[in-house]
C-alpha cells in the first residue's frame, strides 16, 4: 500500500525592526541578559503596549509578496498561558482577524513548479528565553517583545523535500524584502510542522502531529522523514496515530511525544483591549506595493530569459538580492553574462564564503570586476592572476590595474622572456624531456606547469603553449644531453 504525507508549516520570522513591537527597546541579538528591557516589555503592573508601525508595514510587505489579501481591518488578541519567559502571562498576537490571509507562493519540486497556499500571516510578540543552570532557571527578557510574523501554510506539501523547498522560498522572500535576517541558528526563522499520512488516493486527512523545535533545513527534512515513517509504521501495523505535539531530538534524529491533545493549552484568546484595531487605507497599502523589490521568483524568470543563463546559474546568482544586483551591474558594464556568471559563481562566491559575508559587506564594486575582465581581454592578466588579484581588491577596494602592478601580477607575454624560461625548464628536466620525445605526449602539461611555477603563474598561457610546442618540435632526442 502506498502512502502520501500531508504537511503544513508554521513559520515564525523575527522582524528586522530597530525597536520592539510594543515598546522602544532595542531588538539587537546577544546583549547582556535583561539589558534591553523596560517596564512595558517586562510586563510590570500598569504598563500598556503601543504598536510599532514598522511591524505593520513589514507584515503588509510580506502579505503582498506572498499574494495575500491584506485585511484593512484586523485586530490583536491575547493568547493566555503561563510560562516564566512570558512576563504578562499572555502573548499579544492576532487570532480571529489576521492582517494577511489567503495567499500563496510558488515552489520548485521534482515534478516542476507547485503552488503552496498561505492561510494567514499575523503579527505577534516573541517571548523571552530561559537558561537552565543547575537547580535554577534564569530568565532573560531581552527577546521579549521582538516582533514576529507567523506565516501559516495550507497543508499543501506532500514530501519533506517540498516542505524544505517551501521554507527556502519563503526565507528567500523575507531576505529579499529585507524584513528578516533568516538566521535559523539564532532563531530568527523558526519552523513548526504539522504532518499526517494517508493512503494514496484518499481525500480525507489522517490524524496529524505537530513537530516543534526544528532549527535547520536538514533537521526539518530529517524530522519529517522520521515522523512520516513512524506514522506509516503505526498504520501498517494496525494502530492509530494520536494527535499530539512532538519534539524533534536532533542528536538522535527522532521525534518524541511532548504533550497530547488532552494536555493542549486552552489559550482563551480574546481581543486585546489595550490596543486599537489596525485600520489600513488603500493608499497606504498601494504605497507599500510600489516600494516592493523584485521578488526571487520573478527575478529568476527574468534572469533566465534576459541573460540566457542555465537554471543552475540563476539559482546561485539570485540566492542573495545584493549578489543578483551586483551581477546585473557587472553585466551592464561588460556585456558577457555567462563569463561574469562563471566568475561570480566560482571566484567571488568562494571569497564571500570564506569571509562569511554578503557582497555588500565588502569593498568590491562592479567596476572592479569589469576592469579585471578588461585586463584579461587585453592579455595583461591571466586567469590565475585574476584569481590572485580578487581577494586583494575585496580587501582594499583599490583599482585592479594599480593593484596588479603593485603585486607584480602582470602577465608575461614577451616571447623572448618566455623562451628563456622554457629553455631553462627543459634543461632542468632532461629525463621528462626524453620521455616526451619518445612519445609520452602527456608530459606537455608537465612542462607548462613547470613554467607557470617559475613565473608564479604569470605566463601568458596561450603564448606559452605556442612557444613550447614550437620549441619542442625543434629538439631531437640526441640533442637533449647537450642542452
Amino acid at each position: 500500500m502506498e502512502f502520501e504525507a500531508v504537511i503544513g508549516l508554521e513559520v515564525h520570522a523575527q522582524l528586522l525592526t530597530k525597536s520592539k513591537i510594543f515598546c522602544g527597546c532595542s531588538t539587537e541579538f546577544g546583549a547582556t541578559p535583561n539589558s534591553q528591557t523596560c517596564p512595558v516589555c517586562l510586563g510590570l503592573p500598569g504598563v500598556l503596549p503601543v504598536l510599532n508601525k514598522k511591524v505593520v508595514e513589514f507584515a503588509i510587505m510580506l502579505g503582498l509578496a506572498t499574494n495575500c489579501t491584506i485585511n484593512k481591518n484586523s485586530y490583536f488578541a491575547r493568547k493566555n498561558y503561563f510560562y516564566p519567559d512570558l512576563p504578562k502571562g499572555y502573548q499579544i498576537s492576532q487570532y480571529e482577524l489576521p492582517i494577511c490571509s489567503n495567499g500563496y507562493i510558488i515552489i520548485k519540486t521534482k515534478d516542476g513548479e507547485k503552488k503552496i497556499g498561505i492561510t494567514r500571516i499575523h503579527m505577534e510578540e516573541d517571548a523571552g528565553k530561559l537558561i537552565h543552570e543547575g537547580a535554577f532557571s534564569l530568565v532573560d527578557l531581552n527577546r521579549t517583545g521582538t516582533p514576529l510574523l507567523e506565516i501559516v501554510s495550507e497543508p499543501d506539501m506532500r514530501t519533506p523535500e517540498e516542505a524544505v523547498s517551501y521554507l527556502k522560498e519563503l526565507r528567500q522572500i523575507l531576505l529579499y524584502l529585507g524584513i528578516c535576517d533568516g538566521n535559523m541558528e539564532e532563531g530568527s526563522f523558526r519552523c513548526d510542522a504539522n504532518v499526517s499520512v494517508r493512503r494514496k488516493g484518499e481525500t480525507k486527512f489522517g490524524t496529524k502531529t505537530e513537530l516543534k523545535n526544528i532549527n535547520s533545513f536538514r533537521f526539518i527534512q530529517k524530522a519529517l522523514e522520521f515522523e512520516i515513517e513512524r506514522q506509516i509504521d503505526i498504520i501498517e501495523s494496525g494502530g492509530t496515530v494520536i494527535q499530539e505535539t512532538r519534539l524533534f531530538d536532533s542528536s538522535k534524529g527522532i521525534t518524541i511525544s511532548m504533550r497530547s491533545k488532552e494536555e493542549a493549552h486552552d489559550y482563551r484568546y480574546f481581543p486585546e483591549p489595550d490596543l486599537m484595531p489596525v485600520f489600513l487605507d488603500d493608499a497606504y497599502i498601494e504605497d507599500i506595493k510600489t516600494k516592493l523589490p523584485e521578488l526571487p521568483y520573478e527575478k529568476r524568470k527574468r534572469f533566465m530569459k534576459l541573460y540566457n543563463l542555465p537554471e543552475y546559474d540563476v539559482e546561485i546568482l539570485t540566492t542573495d538580492r545584493s549578489l543578483a544586483d551586483f551581477y546585473e551591474s557587472c553585466v551592464k558594464l561588460y556585456n558577457n553574462p555567462k563569463t561574469i556568471s562563471n566568475f561570480v559563481m566560482t571566484e567571488i562566491q568562494k571569497e564571500l564564503n570564506e569571509r562569511k559575508c554578503a557582497i555588500t559587506d565588502t569593498k568590491l564594486k562592479p567596476e572592479h570586476i569589469v576592469e579585471i575582465f578588461k585586463l584579461l581581454d587585453e592579455n595583461k592578466l591571466n586567469y590565475n592572476g585574476a584569481k590572485a588579484l580578487l581577494p586583494k581588491v575585496i580587501e582594499t577596494g583599490k583599482n585592479p590595474s594599480l593593484l596588479m602592478e603593485e603585486l607584480g601580477l602582470i602577465q608575461i607575454s614577451d616571447t623572448n622572456e618566455l623562451k628563456t624560461i622554457i629553455q631553462e625548464v627543459l634543461k632542468n628536466n632532461k629525463k621528462e624531456l626524453k620521455e616526451y620525445l619518445t612519445g609520452k605526449d602527456k608530459l606537455f602539461a608537465f612542462f607548462i606547469g613547470q613554467v607557470m611555477k617559475k613565473t608564479s603563474g604569470k605566463a601568458n598561457p596561450k603564448i606559452l603553449q605556442e612557444l613550447l610546442k614550437e620549441m619542442l618540435s625543434k629538439i631531437s632526442i640526441d640533442d637533449v644531453d647537450n642542452l
Binding site: P45, V50, P87, G89
Partner: protein, 487 residues
Amino acid sequence: MSLLKLSITQLKALIEKKDIKPKEIVELYIKQAKKYQEKTNAFITFDEENIIEQVKELEKKLEKGFSGKLIGIPIAIKDNICTKGIKTTCASKILYNFIPPYDATVIEKLKVEGAIIFGKTNMDEFAMGSSNETSFFGPVRNPWDWERIPGGSSGGSAVTISAKQAPAALGSDTGGSIRQPAALCGVVGLKPTYGRVSRYGLIAFGSSLDQIGPFSRNIEDCALLLECISGYDPKDSTSINVDVPPYQKNLKKDIKGLKIGIPKEYFIEGVEEDIVKNIKNAINIFKDLGAEIKEISLPHTSYGIAVYYLIATAEASSNLARYDGVKYGYRAENIKDLKSLYIKTKKEGFGEEVKRRIMLGTFSLASGYYDAYYKRASKVRTLIKNDFLKAFEEVDAILCPTSPTTAFKLGEKTSDPIQMYLSDIFTINVNLAGIPSISIPCGFDKKGLPIGMQIIGNYLEEQKILNLSYAFEQNIGGFKYCPFEED
C-alpha cells in the same frame, strides 16, 4: 477660618498671593491624615518623609519661577496608580512590596502642576469590590458612621475627602468605583469618558472599562483636577487625541434649556425610598433652574450586571496572570517546581474576591464557552451603548441615583457576592458604554447618611455634566462633605 475648610481652588489663590506657603498646607494635612488614619484606615502607604521631601523640592523650584495649577496641593492617590519609588500594592498581598520604577502618566501630570503626591489610599483588592472590605490591609470606615463601609473600590480616596485627610484625591472607576464611594461618603467623584485620561500606570482590572478620575469637595475643584489629569497620551493607545478644554474656567451656572433625561429603568424596586425622594427633589431644583426634564428609556439596562461580570472578569483573568511570583511581588515559599510556584503564589497572594473573579473570567473565555459568554456579552454591551447614544439624541444629560442604597454596615454583604454586585447596578452601564458620569451629593437619608446622584453625559461632554452639577451645587449653597466640624 481654618485652612482645612478651604477648597483647592481657594488654597491655590492663597498660595498664588503668597499668603501661605505650600509647606503650611502640607503640614496641616499631614497632621489631619495621621489623626484620622486609625479611624478611617484610608491610607495604605503614608510616607511622611517622602512628602516633606517633595515640598522641599517644590519650594526650590518655586524660587526658580516654577508655576503650575496645583502648587502645593496634597493629592491622595488610590493605591492602584503607580508612583515611582512609592509602594503601590493594589491592596493585595501579591503586590505588598511592589515599588514601581515609573510614574503613571496622571502622576507625571500632577507633578508638572506642582501637586504633592500625598499617600496611597486603601481600596478593594485590585479594585474588585463595592465596599472596600476586600483590601488585604483591612477595610476602610465611613466617617459618617464608623460602623459602615465607605463604598468601593476607591473607598480610601473618597474617605480622605470626607474626613478632610486630603483636599483632593484620585481614584479609578471600572464599574462605579469612583461614583459609588463618592455617593456613600457625600463627596464629588467623576468618571471621565473612556480614553479622556491616560491609563498608563493604572494597574489594570478591566482594561476596556478602567478610567482614572478625581474626588473633590466641590465642582470647581473637580473641574480643575480633571483638566490637569486629562489629555492624549502616546503611551496609551486607547487615549483620545482631543484637546482638553479649561473645564474650571468654562464652568457656568446657567443651564436654561438643557434637557435632562430621567431613565425609568433606574427607578425600580430595591432603591431606598429616601434616595428616590432626594433625587426627585433634585429634579425639581433642576426644573427651577430652567432645565427641561424628560422621561427616557434605556431598555437594555437590566443586562448590565451580567455583561459587566463577564467582560470585566474576562479581562481581569488575563490582566492578573502576570502576578506569578517570578519577577516582583509576593512569592510563595517552599516550592517544588514551576507549577507549585504558580499555584502557591496565587493561592496565597490573592484574596477570595479576586480569585472568584479570576475563575469567572477564565471560564467566560474558555474554549467552548467563549461564544456563549464573552462574545455574547460584547454584543449586548453594544446594545447598552446604543441605548445611551439614542438617549443623547434627545437629551443633554441623564440623571439617576448613583447607588440603590446608602452606606451599608461592614460585613453586611460580604457573604453574598450577588447582593454586593447589585450595589453597582446604576453605575456599571456607564463604564460599558465608556461615557462620562459624575456623582454629587444630593441630601441625606433618615439615618443621616449621604445620598449621591449621578449625572451622565455623552462622549467627551464632561463640561456639560460639570455645569449641571455646578448649577445644582450653587443653588443648594454647597455640599456638606464632612460630618465633623471640630477642625
